[in-house]
C-alpha cells in the first residue's frame, strides 16, 4: 500500500517523462525479448540436434557391442573405458540378477526401455569414488540374460547453454543499455526543443507577437510544425496590426466630427445672440453627429456582409436590367454635374447572387465614379462578355487610383485623398469588395488613365 503510493508519487526526471523516452524503452524492451526468443530457439535447436546425434551413436554402439561374443564384449567395454581419459563415456554389463559384471556403472538403472536412449543419473565407480553423473543411456538385454548399458555424459549441452548465455550477456546487455542511453539523449533533445517552444509561446502569450519559433532547417516534422506555427503567428500579427489600424481610423473618423460638434456647441453656447444663430449651430452639430452615425452604420454593414451567410438567400439575378436600372438612377445626377454617363449592356448574363447587394455594389461604383469625375468628364458603365467571363466595368476620367494604393482602397477606411476633405466615408470600395467576395466574384482596379474598376463574374450564364 505504502510502496504503491510512494511509487506513484515519485517524480521521474524530465527526460523520462517524454514520449520519446517511453518509445525508446518500449523499442529496447521489444528488441530484448526478440533476441532472447531467438537465442532460446538457437539453443533449443542445437540441443535437439546434439542429442539426436548422441542417440544415433548410442544405438549403433549398442548394436556393435551386443553382436560381440561375451569375452570380446568384456574386452570392448574395457577398451572403451580405457580410451576415455575425459571420462565421458559409460559402459557396463550386468548379470541377469542385476549384479555388475564389468564397466563403470554401480547399479543397473531401472525403468529404462531397451534400445531407447534416455536421460538418467548414474553413479560411476571407475575413479575409485562414487560419483553421480548426468548421462544419456541406452540398455539392451543380451541373449545370455545379461544387460548391457552404454552411455555418455551430456554436460556439453549445458556448456552450449552457458555459451549462449555468455553471448547474450556480452551482446545484448550493452545493446540494451545503449538503446536506453540513446533514448535518454533523444528525449532530452526533444524535451529541450519543446521547452524552448513553450518558453517562446509563453512570451507570445504575454504579448510579444514578434517572437518566432526557431527552425533547424532540417525540414523534419518538428521544423514543419514550427514553420506552420510561425506562419500562423505572421497572420495573427498582421491581423492584430490591422485591427489596431482600423481602431485608430475609427477613432480618427469618429473623433473628428465629434470634436467639431463639441467645439461648435461650446462656441454657439458662448456666442450665439439670437435664436436663429443658435439653431444654425445646433443644425451643424446634428449634421456632424449624423456623419459619425453614418460611419458606424457603414462599418456594421461591411461587417454584416463579411460575416454573412446569405448564400441561402441567393437567387438568379439578370445583370442586364440591374445595370440599366443603375444607369437610369444615376443619369440625372451625372447630368447635373456635367458628367456624361454612358450605359452599355451587351451581355444578358444571369448570376447566382443577392440582387440587393449586387445593386448596392454597382451603384456604389457608379456613385464614386460620378463623384470623382470633374465636370466635362465621362463615366462608362458597361456589362459585357470578355474572355468567357461576364464583366461589369465602371470607367471614369477622374483622377484615378495610383498603383500603390489599389489594394489599399478596398480596405476599410482607406481614402485616396489623405487630407480627408473629399466627401465620402472611405468605406465605399471596401463595401463593394466585401459584396464581391461574398459572391465569389473578382474585383479588379485596372490601370489608368482615370479609374477603371471591374467586377468579374466567372460563373455567369
Amino acid at each position: 500500500m505504502f510502496a504503491a503510493s510512494d511509487l506513484s508519487s515519485v517524480r521521474l526526471p524530465d527526460f523520462a517523462r517524454t514520449t520519446t523516452f517511453r518509445w525508446a524503452v518500449t523499442v529496447a524492451s521489444a528488441f530484448l525479448l526478440c533476441t532472447l526468443a531467438l537465442f532460446g530457439f538457437v539453443y533449443w535447436q542445437t540441443a535437439v540436434y546434439v542429442m539426436n546425434r548422441y542417440d544415433i551413436l548410442l544405438v549403433k554402439e549398442l548394436q556393435v557391442f551386443a553382436s560381440n561374443t561375451p569375452e570380446r564384449l568384456l574386452q570392448e567395454i574395457e577398451d572403451r573405458l580405457a580410451k576415455d581419459p575425459e571420462r565421458i563415456k559409460i559402459a557396463s554389463l550386468f548379470g541377469a540378477n542385476g549384479s555388475r559384471i564389468a564397466g563403470n556403472v554401480e547399479t543397473f538403472p531401472s525403468g529404462l526401455t531397451p534400445n531407447v536412449p534416455t536421460n538418467a543419473v548414474v553413479v560411476r565407480v571407475d575413479s575409485g569414488l562414487r560419483e553421480a553423473q548426468k548421462v544419456r543411456l541406452a540398455t539392451r538385454s543380451l541373449p545370455g540374460g545379461e544387460n548391457l548399458v552404454i552411455g555418455r555424459q551430456i554436460d556439453e549441452i549445458t556448456e552450449i547453454a552457458q555459451i549462449v548465455v555468455r553471448a547474450l550477456a556480452l551482446g545484448l546487455l550493452p545493446a540494451f543499455i545503449l538503446a536506453i542511453l540513446i533514448g535518454i539523449v533523444l528525449s532530452q533533445r526533444a524535451h529541450d526543443r519543446v521547452l524552448e517552444v513553450n518558453r517562446k509561446i509563453q512570451r507570445i502569450v504575454a504579448g510579444d507577437l514578434r517572437e518566432r519559433l526557431t527552425t533547424s532547417g532540417r525540414g523534419d516534422p518538428f521544423d514543419q510544425l514550427a514553420v506552420s506555427v510561425n506562419r500562423m503567428l505572421d497572420d495573427i500579427e498582421s491581423l492584430v496590426r490591422e485591427i489596431a489600424a482600423v481602431g485608430d481610423n475609427i477613432a480618427h473618423d469618429l473623433r473628428t466630427p465629434l470634436t467639431r460638434v463639441r467645439v461648435r456647441l461650446e462656441r454657439g453656447r458662448a456666442h450665439a445672440s439670437t435664436l436663429n444663430e443658435l439653431r444654425a449651430v445646433v443644425d451643424q452639430a446634428i449634421g456632424s453627429l449624423d456623419q459619425s452615425l453614418a460611419i458606424i452604420t457603414a462599418l456594421l454593414r461591411i461587417a454584416e456582409i463579411e460575416h454573412s451567410r446569405r448564400l441561402e438567400g441567393f437567387s438568379q439575378v439578370p445583370l442586364g436590367p440591374l445595370v440599366r436600372e443603375i444607369g437610369d438612377l444615376y443619369e440625372p445626377i451625372a447630368e447635373d454635374k456635367g458628367v456624361a454617363l454612358q450605359v452599355e449592356s451587351t451581355d444578358e448574363a444571369t448570376v447566382h447572387g443577392d440582387r440587393d447587394l449586387l445593386f448596392e455594389a454597382v451603384a456604389n461604383l457608379v456613385d464614386n465614379a460620378v463623384k470623382f469625375t470633374p465636370e466635362g468628364g465621362h463615366v462608362e458603365l458597361a456589362l459585357h462578355h470578355h474572355n468567357g467571363q461576364t464583366q461589369i466595368r465602371v470607367k471614369d476620367t477622374g483622377p484615378g487610383i495610383p498603383e500603390i494604393e489599389r489594394e489599399a482602397v478596398t480596405k476599410r477606411f482607406y481614402r485616396s485623398d489623405k487630407s480627408r476633405r473629399t466627401e465620402g466615408l472611405g468605406l465605399g470600395l471596401s463595401l463593394v469588395a466585401a459584396i464581391v467576395k461574398l459572391h465569389g466574384f473578382q474585383f479588379a482596379i485596372a490601370p489608368g488613365p482615370g479609374c477603371t474598376v471591374e467586377i468579374v463574374c466567372p460563373q455567369a450564364r
Binding site: 467639431r260 443644425d283 456594421l300 438612377l329 440625372p332 447635373d336
Partner: protein, 269 residues
Amino acid sequence: MPAVQNRSPYQSNAGDKPNRGPAVPLEAYESETISADMVFRDGAMASVLLIEDDSETAKEIRAELGDRGYAVDWAADGIEGLDKARSGEAEVIIVDRLLPGMDGLTIVEALRSGGMRTPVLVLSALGAVDDRVRGLRAGGDDYLTKPFATVELIARVEALLRRPADSRDTVLRLGPLELDLMERTAKRGDRVIDLLPREFRLLEYMMRRKDQVLTRAMLLEEVWKYKFVPQTNLVDVHMGRLRHKVDEPNEPPMIHNVRGVGFILRAPA
C-alpha cells in the same frame, strides 16, 4: 472652419439643403420650401401606443408626438405592451425591437395571429437588412433604424395612419394634376407633362400619398426599393427633375420641399 460637408443619411434637420448643388438648383424653389410645422397635420388626438424600454427615448418620443397633438400611451416592457396593444385603443403602435420580457417581433406576431390589424412601426438599433426583412415579415408595417430624426418618426406614423386606400381608379387626380395609370400619361390642366418612366413612378407614389410628408428614406425604400443609404443626394436630384416638369415657373407650386424632412405634394392653394 469648414462647413459640414455631409448630407445626413437620416434626413435630420441638418440635411435640408443638399450641399453639392445639382444643375437644376433647388434654390430656385426656395420659396416653395416650407417648414415642417406647417405640413404635419394635427394629430387630432389620434392615439399612439409606444412600447419602448429606454425611458429617455420614450420621454422624447412622447413629448414630440404630444406636441403634434397625438395622445401617447407608454409601456416600458413587452408584457405590459402586449396587454395594452390587445385592448385595441391605439391607432398606431410603435414597438422597440429589443425589449425586456418579450421580443418586439413576438408582440407583433402575437397581435397579428390574434387578428389585430393596427399598423405597427418597428424601431430597432439593429440596422441589418436581414433584420428589417424579419421585422416586416413578422407583421410590422414599417421599420425604422435607431438613431432616427424625430421628424422621420412622425412622418412614418402619419403615413401609417393614412395608408392609401387600395384604389382601383386608373386615373389619379389632385387639383389640376391628372395621372392616367393605363395610358401612362400625365397632365397639369391642359398641359401634357412628358415624364420618363422613373419620374412617372415617383409622381404616382406621391399622388397616392398627397398632402403627406414623404421623407427621403421613405422615397428610397418605397419608390426605388433601395435598401441602403446612398452617398449621393439621389432623391433630391430626381425630385428636382420631377418638380421642374410638374411646376412650371408661372404656375403655383405643387411639390414642396419640407425643411429638414423631405417633400410633400399638395394641390395649389
